[in-house]
């Protein structure tokens, strides 16, 4: 195997966006029939590099060699001709089309469609991958995990033998991740090469043969996975030592602050999402909400924040009925801070600058506005102060929020929601898509808010994270709380059973 040419090699790849070097002299060698991980924080240039390999971006300099032969990849068609297939983080699929249409899309063949043969092939291939897929189902109706399998299938259908997977587990639930790992091993055994892009250390350790670590557009190290440790990888990736354990002291719990009394609500399609759900969060504790995505977590956060109406039940904050308070009033009068799940669409106005985003929830009131006139000097100095304290890395407070990395965007939201000392903090998927450094920051911030007496409702699909940060856990299933237990007594197994609606003896 040592003499065989590498499946793919990159030499001196440079890709610029304006003055910014997203990839700076990147070298990479991927051995045939291996799982090769590319590890790096958000914004390290991993995705850019993959888009170069897949022909979506044209590199400004450098060479690409496929099985030892120099190639140019001008577009995805040429990549596919070289046997390279890519599964993007945001799936490249047409939601209004069926599975079979998505799979055969763009393939040559008879003009007049007859997809029966393709249907059969898809079913056999799916069975080989150990899953069952109905070729005629509409893409948008499939669970995310299955959609991902269709994406992989699509590539295999085009006879790709090098699969690029961009952050494949970021959309999966813990159960799905496990079977996904099995799928990858199976693919390698069947002779395929896999390039896994990730910022999750455990995935690298569990799956890969070799790992390339990137930081700020450059390759920092290329290592044999068996010869390295998570700690070393984290240090190379972040550029400093990372503490994995946030100190978790016992909570000083007070009286209940946020109380939900048999609340019900419907989702966007009008289907019941919360079903007489009751819970209470006390002063100085973090209540973690555990559950498989789509069991009412989003609606729970939105009803408390005031973005979704109740169909029945009652929400009280510090003993006051929250009914009739809009989201702004809930924040300013009831002290409900909200860190939404979708930070880009709900949490921020991406096209406004940092300083405006910092006052997004209060710019109409004193001290930022007086009788309808905005005090921009005040807004700026306020933002500069917050940015410093929350370590928001940016060029300045007049930078547009869209241009910041996910971690820094999240810090803006945290700073804004925490700053005026809320009584209740609703946090939804606060670390989604963040790298280890930013995750650590978010968790520390939330714990210190807890110690100041906030009641925190922490909704996350990352089990490990909840076990680490929360004081108490409540499991949500089909819009109801099906179990509550102290974090100290919780185990993944116990929670896993509850999450699927099974009773625990």
């Amino acid at each position: 195997m040592t003499n065989a040419p590498d499946r793919l090699a990159l030499e001196g790849i440079v890709k610029r966006f304006g003055a910014f070097r997203a990839n700076d002299d990147v070298n990479l060698k991927i051995a045939d029939q291996s799982i090769h991980a590319i590890l790096g924080e958000n914004g390290a240039g991993k995705s850019t590099l993959m888009n170069v390999i897949y022909g979506l971006y044209t590199p400004d300099a450098g060479r690409i060699l496929s099985r030892g032969k120099e190639v140019t990849i001008g577009d995805p068609r040429e990549a596919m001709a070289l046997g390279i297939g890519m599964v993007h983080q945001h799936f490249k699929q047409v939601n209004t089309m069926s599975v079979v249409e998505n799979v055969v899309l763009g393939l040559p063949g008879r003009q007049i469609l007859d997809l029966d043969e393709d249907r059969r092939r898809i079913e056999t291939m799916a069975a080989e991958l150990g899953s069952e897929i109905d070729p005629d189902q509409l893409m948008s109706t499939l669970p995310i995990g299955t959609q991902q399998r269709v994406e992989i299938l699509k590539m295999l259908y085009r006879e790709a033998d090098l699969l690029i997977l961009d952050e494949p587990t970021s959309v999966l639930t813990p159960n799905e991740i496990e079977s996904f790992f099995k799928l990858l091993s199976r693919l390698r055994e069947s002779g395929r090469t896999i390039l896994l892009i990730t910022h999750k250390l455990d995935e690298v350790m569990d799956l890969s043969d070799r790992v390339t670590v990137m930081r700020q557009g450059r390759v920092e190290a290329e290592l044999e996975t068996s010869a390295t440790t998570p700690k070393e990888l984290a240090r190379v990736m972040v550029g400093r030592d990372v503490v994995f354990d946030v100190p978790h002291t016992p909570p000083k719990v007070g009286a209940p602050v946020l109380e939900l009394d048999r609340i019900s609500a419907v989702d966007d399609r009008g289907v019941s999402a919360l079903d007489e759900l009751s819970l209470s969060v006390r002063e100085g504790e973090i209540l973690g909400i555990v559950g498989i995505d789509g069991n009412g977590q989003r609606e729970l956060a939105e009803t408390v924040a005031g973005l979704r109406n109740l169909t029945s039940g009652k929400i009280t904050v510090s003993g006051r009925d929250a009914e009739g308070y809009d989201p702004a009033e809930r924040k300013h009068k009831l002290g409900v801070g909200y860190v939404p799940e979708d930070r880009q669409k709900v949490g921020l106005d991406l096209d406004s600058d940092v300083s405006l985003n910092m006052v997004l929830r209060g710019f109409r009131e004193r001290p930022f506005a007086i009788r309808g006139w905005m005090d921009y000097a005040r807004i700026r100095s306020h933002a500069e102060d917050l940015a410093k304290r929350y370590d928001v890395r940016m060029q300045g407070v007049s930078q547009i929020a869209r241009d910041l990395s996910g971690g820094n965007q999240q810090k803006i939201i945290l700073a804004r929601e925490i700053e005026d000392n809320p009584r209740v903090l609703v946090v939804s998927q606060p670390t989604k898509g963040l790298d280890v450094g930013a995750i650590e920051f978010v968790q520390r911030t939330l714990l210190s808010q807890r110690d100041r007496g906030d009641a925190i409702l922490y909704i996350s699909s990352e089990l490990e994270e909840l076990l680490l940060v929360a004081d108490r856990l409540a499991v949500i299933f089909k819009g109801r709380i099906v179990g509550e237990l102290p974090a100290s007594e919780a185990t993944s197994e116990k929670l896993g059973l509850l999450m699927t609606g099974k009773e625990v003896a």
């Binding site: 979506l56 596919m80 993007h88 939601n95 209004t96 089309m97 249409e101 007049i112 469609l113």
Partner: protein, 314 residues
């Protein structure tokens, strides 16, 4: 007032007028639908009908044959489509703005050029046109026969076009690509489909279809060219696309609906000379507004409609 709807002879006449009036709408709606399915807003239909009408008059006048008129009309349509494609797809100018510009340009260009090219102006022309083709036996069926089987070739062409577009979109590989490009161009691109090529092809052919609507007006209805003779048909066709939820067959029915109300209002005008004709002339437009409001429901346009594609967009 509406007794003509139960009189067989008058009803046949109204229905046949309805079909006649809906043909330009059908051509334009099918053309627009093809563009929109590929993700390009073609609001210029109104101008393209006018271009088609003008081209048909030019071709028929200078070459003395309605077939030449048809070809020149198609040529004008394709050129206007190419303009829309270059500006709206490649140069990423807002497609609504481009559409309006094309309409304004078509209006000015055709009325100016018609004074230059036709002695005595377009209104004084008497062009060679297409006459009705009676399909034997079928055209003798009462009411229906006269409505459906004693029409000119372009009418049959429009009906076949509906079937052809439907077949193209839902039964062919090319159609699948078109739908993907209009829905999620990044997915289509990743699957190896040429997004730009597909959009150009759809916009250019779609625009040619709209131009056929104008050619129909000139070569079968009035045999002359007059300024602004498209008279809002392009906009009604846009409404028909929405009402038809981007489905060729439904859009076709929407065109028939609008054509029917147009025919009814003409008959009402004729039968009720004591009432100002504007009252009736407003009817089809009123119906199109009411239909859009009442039947809108959950119409899902192709999700990338009007958005130029840029592969390297971050």
């Amino acid at each position: 007032m509406f007794e003509f709807l139960i009189n067989p002879a008058q009803l046949a006449d109204v229905l046949s007028t309805a079909l006649r009036l809906s043909i330009p709408l059908i051509f334009a709606a099918m053309g627009g639908l093809l563009c929109e399915r590929a993700g390009v807003f073609n609001i210029a239909l109104e101008g393209q009908i006018l271009f088609g009408a003008f081209g048909a008059a030019v071709g028929a006048y200078y070459f003395g044959s309605p077939y030449a008129g048809l070809l020149v009309a198609i040529g004008f349509g394709m050129l206007s489509g190419l303009l829309l494609a270059i500006l709206g797809i490649s140069l990423r100018v807002n497609q609504i703005v481009v559409g309006i510009a094309i309409i304004l340009f078509a209006t000015g260009f055709t009325s100016f050029m018609s004074r230059l090219l036709f002695p005595g102006g377009g209104n004084s022309l008497t062009l060679d046109g297409f006459g009705p083709i009676n399909i034997p036996i079928l055209s003798d069926i009462p009411i229906v026969g006269k409505v459906l089987f004693a029409q000119n070739g372009l009418v049959y062409g429009a009906l076949l076009l509906v079937l052809a577009i439907n077949f193209l979109l839902f039964r062919t590989r090319a159609g699948m690509s078109i739908r993907a490009v209009g829905e999620t161009p990044s997915a289509a691109d990743a699957a190896g489909i040429h997004v730009f090529r597909t959009r150009y092809a759809c916009v250019i052919t779609g625009s040619a279809m709209a131009a056929l609507g104008g050619a129909y007006l000139v070569l079968t209805q009035v045999l002359l060219f007059s300024d602004k003779m498209s008279a809002g048909k392009g906009f009604i066709a846009l409404a028909a696309i929405v009402l038809g939820r981007w489905q060729p067959k439904l859009a076709f029915m929407a065109c028939l609906l609008f054509g029917f109300f147009d025919a009814v209002q003409l008959r009402l005008q004729f039968n009720n000379p004591e009432i100002p004709f504007q009252v009736f002339a407003a009817l089809p437009y009123l119906v199109s507004i009411l239909a859009l409001v009442g039947l809108m429901g959950r119409a899902n346009p192709p999700s990338s409609i009007g958005r130029p594609y840029d592969r390297e967009m971050r």
